[in-house]
């Protein structure tokens, strides 16, 4: 097979290469069946069908880019590209955006796309009752005006260079549509066929789609409550593909079997040991750097993910535009860790408690870290807590010394610019960089500022970033063309090809 498969053998470079290749492998071109139905297995059934009504990540996976489109789209490589917007202009002061919509776009119901629909859709997301996770990032929107059928003008209260990125999460919905929690009317390449609650959701190719027709006839998402059942379904051929495999050991079933393809992309999920940077001894940069150097992260990653995953040395994953490899800032070096502790006045070591979520992989990661820190004389006690306790004790009350957590979002370095965030990192320069980056005049300027912020947090070891999770897709060998990074849980289905029946 001559597919550029990204297995663990080519891992480190592959994650980056994968990012660069937008539509990965289009193999089996000759006998791909244009009417094939792609059967996707998922553990995340949506609560409802409306992403402003607390539907969960499952609805993004099923609908984003498939049933609904935004003015912009975040590609699998992490770039923002125009979709329903043809051109747009930004005023001199950066506060007025004039969007010209693409011509000839129709909704699944047959209604044409107009500026009114766009206004309606954005207002739905920023409405007081909206539960959209993007609501706060769109808070700078002051006014939305539909000038004519194809022109929308958005006025901001302050510059927001990320507006196109943030708008990529605003689905353009027909303003005449009702009951959006159980039905759908978008402009995407698929229309909703049927949702069988608790079981499956099927999408059919939309024949009047404005863009390129999908490479398949439709999609069925089958929902499982448990990973083993999902793996078995793939083994027996009941589904074609699993977009996100959560454990490396279930991969043993598929690796080396010519009937399956295993690909590794770059996820945005970061495993970290976050300190409460407000309190002693974690307010001391040398202590934080010592702890970063005391842990053999390569061995840790291998223990947890058996060869998958990446080390990034910071909080910024390779799919964020401000990524730089910072693994050299505090490499594994117990000798210098001890020296740094000495310098910080903790030559005798110290003792702290780490609140650890009681689900995998946190307890096992905690025990590994506990062993490593013992080598430099630091005693770490493990206190297991539930996910709810984590939320109330750590996220809300900020009553903790240190904790383990995984952070899943794309472009979330902004947390380090908020001194009131749970880890309480407070560096005036970083705060200023992150705040002014959003007010940048150009994307280049924004990238430059955030890259600089990224370097500073790494130099100061603001938290202990242990590793970046892999994003592993497993499919049957006759299926190709799928997204491999699955940023923010999205899974574009339109390029997927399937040969045979």
């Amino acid at each position: 097979m001559s597919l550029p498969l990204l297995t663990k053998k080519v891992l480190a470079g592959a994650a980056l290469t994968a990012v660069a290749v937008a539509a990965p492998f289009a193999a089996f071109g000759q006998d791909a069946n244009p009417d094939a139905i792609i059967r996707i297995g998922s553990l995340y059934e949506p609560q409802n069908l409306d992403n402003t009504a607390g539907a969960g990540q499952g609805i993004t996976e099923a609908f984003n880019g498939n049933v609904y489109e935004g003015l912009f789209r975040l590609t699998d490589a992490g770039d923002v590209e125009d979709v329903l917007v043809e051109t747009y202009e930004i005023s001199e002061n950066g506060l007025t955006y004039t969007f010209t919509l693409r011509d000839g776009v129709t909704f699944h119901s047959g209604d044409p796309l107009t500026a009114q629909d766009v206004k309606f859709s954005i207002e739905r997301v920023i409405a007081p009752e909206s539960q959209s996770s993007r609501k706060s990032s769109l808070a700078t929107i002051e006014n939305i005006e539909a000038v004519d059928d194809r022109t929308v003008v958005i006025t901001l209260s302050q510059r927001s260079i990320s507006l196109p990125y943030n708008l990529s999460y605003v689905w353009i919905v027909n303003d005449a549509a009702t009951e959006l929690t159980s039905s759908a009317d978008g402009t995407g390449p698929y229309r909703l066929d049927e949702w069988r609650r608790g079981s499956s959701l099927s999408l059919t190719r939309f024949d009047d789609y404005w863009g390129q027709a999908p490479a398949n006839g439709g999609v069925v998402l089958t929902y499982f409550t448990e990973a083993t059942a999902q793996n078995n379904a793939l083994l027996t051929g009941a589904i074609d593909i699993i977009p996100a495999v959560q454990s490396p050991d279930s991969l043993a079933l598929f690796e080396g079997n010519p009937e399956f393809n295993v690909t590794e992309g770059a996820s945005t999920t970061k495993q970290l040991l976050a300190y409460n940077d407000r309190i002693e001894p974690f307010s001391n940069v040398n202590v934080r750097k010592a702890l970063a150097r005391a842990i053999n992260k390569e061995r840790l990653l291998d223990s947890i993910w058996g060869g998958y995953g990446t080390l990034i040395g910071s909080f910024v994953p390779p799919t964020d535009p401000w990524y730089v490899d910072l693994t050299d800032v505090d490499p594994y070096d117990p000798e210098s860790a001890r020296a740094l502790l000495e310098e910080a006045g903790y030559g005798e070591g110290f003792r702290f408690t780490v609140d650890t979520p009681n689900y995998d992989p946190h307890p096992i990661v905690a025990q590994f870290v506990q062993n490593e820190l013992a080598q430099i004389g630091v005693t770490m006690d493990i206190n297991l807590i539930t996910a709810n306790e984590w939320y109330t004790k750590i996220y809300q009350a900020q009553d903790f010394e240190a904790t383990f957590q995984e952070h899943v979002n794309h472009r979330d370095i902004v947390f380090y610019g908020n001194p009131n965030f749970y880890w309480g990192y407070d560096n005036a320069e970083v705060i200023a960089l992150i705040a002014s980056a959003e007010a940048s005049e150009t994307v280049d300027e924004q990238v430059e500022k955030l890259t600089q912020a990224n370097r500073i947090i790494a130099e100061e070891a603001a938290s202990n970033w242990l590793y970046l999770y892999p994003q592993i897709v497993v499919s049957r060998a006759n299926v190709s063309g799928y997204p491999i990074n699955g940023l923010n849980s999205q899974f574009f289905a339109y390029d997927i090809e399937k040969s045979g029946q």
């Binding site: 050991d249 223990s303 009681n358 995998d360 307890p363 025990q367 590994f368 506990q370 807590i385 539930t386």
Partner: protein
């Protein structure tokens, strides 16, 4: 047909001969007790030492293989024995102390108090042991071995108290108690000299059974992350950690499972054997 005369020597003989279930139980539990004591002085590797590679198969160097972060599983399982026995013994001791006291009190109490106590015990027993234990652990400051032992001890005490109450009531109706009472023996003396000797064999059997159940309950609590916090190697936590790797390294789940089964079956056989040994009617039927 002539009725067989009672063979007194046969009873004597059987009294000397231990029931095979008791012997088997003693052996199985004994293995664990010996291992538990041994861990106080020696284990093949350090308890948290990451001595090997990831998920190594059983070998001469690592008799039960290694876990994901390279710790020796045999060492972990040995320490698990100690934790299981500590939990079992601790929980039964607490359960016995509270349970027997409450049971005796209830049996002697006024009718209303007795009814109230009995109802309370019934409610406690109606709660699944695990749920009760989870409540206690949640109420205490974080999960710990002590909290788990206390929680299971409380759950056991309700069962012991109810059993004690019934046993005491039955004995109190006996003629020899009335005889002792009329001859002026004080209540404390009656309890110590007549009551307890007559109820302890049944209680002892129950304690052995509760020990086995407590070991399983602690494994369940640790499996849920509510037992002894890491790096204490409870079998439940070993099972939980091995769950995700059961396809690639099945021994990680099988080995602590076997250890758990041996101890629990051993405890149940021991309980069976004790009952056979301590019950005169059964002895006669042999």
């Amino acid at each position: 047909m002539t009725t067989e005369p009672l063979d007194v020597t046969a009873i004597r003989k059987s009294r000397r001969k231990l029931p095979p279930t008791l012997v088997a139980g003693l052996v199985l539990v004994g293995i664990h007790v010996i291992i538990a004591v041994l861990t106080l002085f020696w284990t093949p590797y350090g308890p948290t030492e990451m001595a090997g590679g990831r998920l190594e198969a059983p070998s001469l160097a690592h008799w039960a293989g290694t876990d994901r972060i390279g710790r020796d599983l045999f060492t972990q399982i040995m320490i698990g024995s100690r934790i299981a026995i500590m939990v079992g013994a601790g929980a039964v001791a607490i359960g016995a102390a509270i349970g027997v006291t409450l049971g005796v009190l209830a049996a002697f109490a006024t009718r209303t108090l007795d009814d109230a106590l009995a109802a309370t015990l019934d409610i406690l027993i109606a709660f699944p042991t695990l749920l009760l234990a989870m409540l206690v652990v949640a109420a205490s400051d974080g999960a710990s071995l002590g909290a788990a032992i206390l929680a299971l001890g409380i759950a056991i005490s309700a069962i012991v108290a109810r059993l004690t109450r019934i046993l005491v009531k039955r004995v109190l109706e006996m003629d020899y108690i009335t005889a002792a009472r009329t001859s002026g023996t004080s209540w404390p003396r009656i309890i110590i000299e007549h009551l307890l000797p007559n109820i302890w064999p049944t209680l002892l059997v129950n304690f052995a059974l509760q020990f086995g159940l407590a070991v399983i309950a602690e494994a369940s609590l640790s499996y849920l992350g509510l037992g002894a916090p890491p790096p204490n190697a409870s079998w439940g936590r070993l099972l939980q950690e091995a769950q995700g790797t059961v396809y690639t390294a099945p021994f990680g789940a099988v080995a602590p499972g076997i250890a758990l089964v041996i101890l629990v079956i051993g405890m149940n056989l021991l309980a069976d054997g004790l009952r056979d040994f301590g019950d005169p009617t059964r002895r006669r039927s042999r």
